[in-house]
Amino acid sequence: MVNLPLKGLRVIDLSRVFAMPYAAAFLADLGAEVIKVEGCAFLSADTRLGGPFGGPWADDAPGELHYERNGVFHVLNRGKRSLTLDLNQAAGLETLKKLIATADIVIENFTPRVMRKFGLDYPNLRALRPDVIMVSNTGYGHSGPFSNYGAMAASLEPTHGSGAFIGYEGGPPNKISNSYTDFLASWTALYSVMAALLYRTRTGKGLWIDLAMYQVGTAFMGEGLLDYAFNGRANRWMGNRHDVHAPHNTYPCKGHDRWVTIAVTDDSEWRALCAVIGNPELAEDVRFIDGPSRLKHQDALDALICQWTTPLDQYEVAHRLQAVGVAAGPVLDARDLFTDPHLMARKFFDHIEHSPETEVGCRPQLGRPWSFSDFEVPTPSAGPRLGEANNYVLRELLGLGEAEITTMTEQGVIGTTPTDAPVPIPVPVAEQLRLGRLVELDPLYRQRLKLDSQPLK
C-alpha cells in the first residue's frame, strides 16, 4: 500500500456546487482526508439534489434515495467523508469550529458576508488553528466594488472576456460553456493549496487564499488583453480558423453531427495531406503553394477538404492524417470518450462502486489528467452518503459522548436525510431530448459501459 502524498492532511470542505468541491476531490484522490460539511436543510445549494434539469440520476430514476443517486455530485465528491451540521444552530457552529481546530486546510465558496456572519473568516479561523490554509473562492474576490456580487461560471465566462475571442467568424461573442470558469478555479485552488502547503512546511505559517474567479478567468485571457494593449485589437472571432495557418478547421464526417479537426502548420504537412486525399497535384496548385496563399484561399481550401472528409469516418480521417504526420483529431462526444481506445489504454476513468442501498452500481467517472511515476492513485471511494461520517467525526475525532450525539440528532443539528427538499420533479431525459437540451439518448449506454447492476425501476 503506497503512502499517498497528502496522507495525514485533513481538509474541511465547506464548499458547494462545482469549482471547489472538485478541487477538494483531487486532494482526496491524493490521500488527504476530506470532510465535506453539508446541512440537511441546506442541500439545495449543492449538487446532490440536481440542477434545474434534475439529475442526472442513475438510469434517470431519482427514487427515494435520489440525493444519493446524482451523477454530477458523485464525480465532484468522490473520496470524501460527509458530515452534516446545521450551522444556524449554535451546537452545529461550535462543532465545526472544533473540527476546524484539527484541520490543515479549509475550503469554502460562500459570499464574503456568510463566513463573517459565522465568525469563520480568516482571522477567526486562524485563532482556531494558527497554521490553517484557507481557500475562499468567490466570483469577484473579497475586496473591490464587486465583492458582494454573486456569480456562476455561465455568467462569469463572458464577463472575464472570453466572448471577445470565441465566436464563429464575424461574431457575435460565443462561449466555451460547460462551466468553464469553474474548472479554471478548481485548478487554481489545487495549485495554490499545494504552494501554500510547501510554504507552511518551510515556515510553519498558514495562509489565506482569496480566489476570485473573475481574476483567474481574466488571467487566462492574458494574451488577448496584451494584443489589445500593444496593438489595439479588441476581438478576434475566427471560428475554428487560425490567424496564420491553413487549413485549420473542423470538417464534417460520416454520420450525424460527426466532425474531424485538421491543422496544417507547414508546407511539408500540406503536401502530405494532399497525398492522403489522393490529390498530389493539389500540392502544386498556386493558390495553396505556401502558408500565406493557403490562408488567402482558405474558403476554397476548406471546401476541397470537406468534400474529402464528408463520406469518411471521423476516426479514419484522423488516423490516416496522423500516419503521415499531419495534426488531426476527431471531435469526441461523451460516449466516444468512454469508449476511446487511448483513454482506455491509459485507464483514465475510475470505475467506482456505490453502496448497495443506493442501487447506483458501478459507474465510470472522470479520473485525473496527470500521473506520477513512483506511485499510483488508487480508485477513490464513491461520493459519500449524506452524513455517513457523523459518528466518525463526532465520536472519534472530536470525542463527543453518546448523549451529546443523541441530542444533536434530536435537535436536527445532524442527520442523514434531507429536510429542506421536496423530491425533485425531474425533466425526464426524453423531454430534455425533445427540447434540445440533450442531443441523443443512447438506449445501449449500459451495455457500452458494461454496467452490470440492475437499473432502478
Binding site: P52, G54, R202, E223, W259, A327, P369, W370, F372
Partner: protein, 411 residues
C-alpha cells in the same frame, strides 16, 4: 565585470520571499503549456531558468506580436508566458549541451518540458539520464495526449487537443459546427494542471527524498472539465450537446442594446426579481415560475427576454442585476477589462516594461494571498540574456570556458 549586490537582488532569479522561494526550476518548455507551468511556479517565488535552443523558444515565433512586427522579442504569447524568468541558451542536440544540461539538473528541483515524448531520449531527458544526474529531480512532462497510449505520438495543436478532449463538441451552437475555445486554452489548462501536479511531487519528495516524473496530458486536462456531460451519459445515456438554436435564453449570451449579457435565473432570488428587473409583466406568468417551466417554455421566454433586453445597456443591467443578487454577466472586451474599477482596485494589472517590446499592463497573478502577492514583475527575458551569469554562478565556469562554448555554438 562584477555585478553589484543591488543588481543581484533585482534579477528575476533572486529570492523573492514567495511561497516557493526555495524551489529551483529548469524550464525547457516550448510554446505555451510548459512555459505557463514554469511561470506559475515563478509567480509564487520559484527561481526559474528558462533553457532555450539557440534559435529560442518556439513561442518567440508565435504571433500576435507587439506592434504587429514579427520579432523574437515581441511575441505576445512569449512576453506573457515568461515573466520572472532568466533565459539561457543551450543546444541539446550536442553532447556537450546535454552534459551542461545535466550539470544544471543537479542544481534544480524541477525540470519542466513539453517535447514530444519520443524525443526525450535524444535530448537527454529520459528517466535514466535525469535520475543519474539528480535522483531528487521532479521532471514534469506535458504532452498532447500523455506519454503512453495509442495517441501518445500524435501531433496536435490546441484545436486538435480540444477536439479529442471532448470539450469542443460541447461548445458553440447546435445548428453549427463545434466551436473551439481561443487563446490556446487547452495549453493553459495543461500548464496550470502541470504546476499543481509538480507541487504535489515536490511535497511528496519532502517525505520520500525521491523525485520522479509527472506525466500530464493536455487533452485529458480538458476532458476533466466534462463533469456534466460525462455524468449525463454514464448515468442516463443522455448525450449533451451545444447550445440549442432556440429556446435557451438563460445562462447564455443574449443581445441587448449595446452588446451581450447573460441573464440568469440561478441563485437565491425568485424569478419575479428577474421579471421586475427586465421590466416585463408577461415574464411573471405561471409558465415561467419554475425552473422546469422555464425550460419547457423556453421559446416563449426567449422572445420576451429579447424584447426586454432591447431597452438595456449591458453594463447598467450587469450592476442593477447583481445589486439585487441576480447572477448576471456581460460580454466584456479587453478595453473594458483594463478599465474595470474592480480589477483596478484589486491591483490586478501590473505595469511591465520590456526593453524591446515596450511597456504594457499585464494580468499579474491568479490569486491574492494574505501574505501579500509575491509576484514581482520582471519582463520576459531577452534570448540568452542570462547565459553568462547562470553558467558562472551555478556551474562555476570561467569566462574562457563560457567563451569556448559560445564559439562551439553549444550556447
Amino acid at each position: 565585470m562584477n555585478e553589484t549586490n543591488q543588481e543581484k537582488r533585482e534579477h528575476p532569479g533572486a529570492s523573492s520571499g514567495g511561497l516557493l522561494s526555495n524551489v529551483r526550476v529548469l524550464d525547457l518548455g516550448q510554446g505555451v503549456s510548459g512555459p505557463f507551468c514554469a511561470r506559475l511556479l515563478a509567480d509564487q517565488g520559484a527561481e526559474v531558468i528558462k533553457t532555450e535552443p539557440l534559435e529560442g523558444d518556439l513561442a518567440r515565433r508565435m504571433g500576435p506580436f507587439a506592434g504587429d512586427e514579427a520579432h523574437s522579442e515581441k511575441s505576445i504569447p512569449f512576453l506573457y508566458l515568461n515573466t520572472n524568468k532568466r533565459s539561457i541558451t543551450l543546444d541539446l542536440s550536442t553532447a556537450r549541451g546535454r552534459i551542461l544540461l545535466h550539470a544544471l539538473v543537479r542544481w534544480a528541483d524541477v525540470l519542466v518540458e513539453n517535447f514530444e515524448p519520443k524525443l526525450r531520449t535524444s535530448l537527454g531527458l529520459d528517466d535514466e539520464s535525469l535520475a543519474a544526474a539528480n535522483p531528487r529531480l521532479v521532471t514534469t512532462s506535458i504532452s498532447n495526449f500523455g506519454s503512453t497510449g495509442p495517441y501518445s505520438d500524435w501531433k496536435a495543436t490546441d484545436l486538435i487537443t480540444s477536439a479529442i478532449s471532448g470539450l469542443m463538441y460541447h461548445s458553440g451552437n447546435a445548428d453549427r459546427e463545434p466551436l473551439r475555445s481561443a487563446l490556446s486554452q487547452s495549453l493553459y489548462v495543461a500548464g496550470i494542471n502541470a504546476a499543481a501536479a509538480t507541487l504535489v511531487a515536490i511535497y511528496r519528495r519532502l517525505s520520500t527524498g525521491k523525485g520522479g516524473r509527472v506525466d500530464v496530458s493536455v487533452a485529458e486536462c480538458m476532458t476533466a472539465h466534462l463533469v456534466q456531460a460525462s455524468a449525463s451519459y454514464a448515468y442516463t445515456g443522455g448525450l449533451r450537446g451545444r447550445r440549442p438554436a432556440h429556446g435557451a435564453p438563460l445562462e447564455e449570451l443574449m443581445p441587448c442594446q449595446d452588446g451581450h449579457v447573460v441573464v440568469s435565473a440561478q441563485g437565491s432570488q425568485p424569478f419575479n426579481t428577474v421579471a421586475d428587473l427586465i421590466g416585463l409583466e408577461e415574464l411573471k406568468g405561471p409558465m415561467f415560475a419554475s425552473a422546469e417551466g422555464r425550460i419547457v417554455n423556453g421559446e416563449a421566454l426567449e422572445h420576451l427576454i429579447l424584447d426586454g433586453l432591447a431597452h438595456w445597456k449591458k453594463n447598467e443591467l450587469f450592476h442593477a442585476a447583481n445589486k439585487q443578487r441576480l447572477v448576471f454577466g456581460q460580454a466584456q472586451e479587453p478595453a473594458e477589462l483594463y478599465s474595470c474599477p474592480h480589477l483596478n482596485e484589486r491591483e490586478f494589472f501590473a505595469s511591465v516594461n520590456h526593453p524591446v517590446a515596450g511597456a504594457a499592463k499585464y494580468p499579474r497573478d491568479l490569486i491574492r494571498l494574505s501574505e501579500g502577492s509575491f509576484a514581482t514583475r520582471h519582463p520576459a527575458p531577452i534570448l540568452g540574456a542570462h547565459t553568462t551569469e547562470v553558467f558562472r554562478e551555478i556551474l562555476a565556469l570561467s569566462d574562457a570556458e563560457i567563451e569556448q562554448l559560445r564559439s562551439l555554438a553549444v550556447i
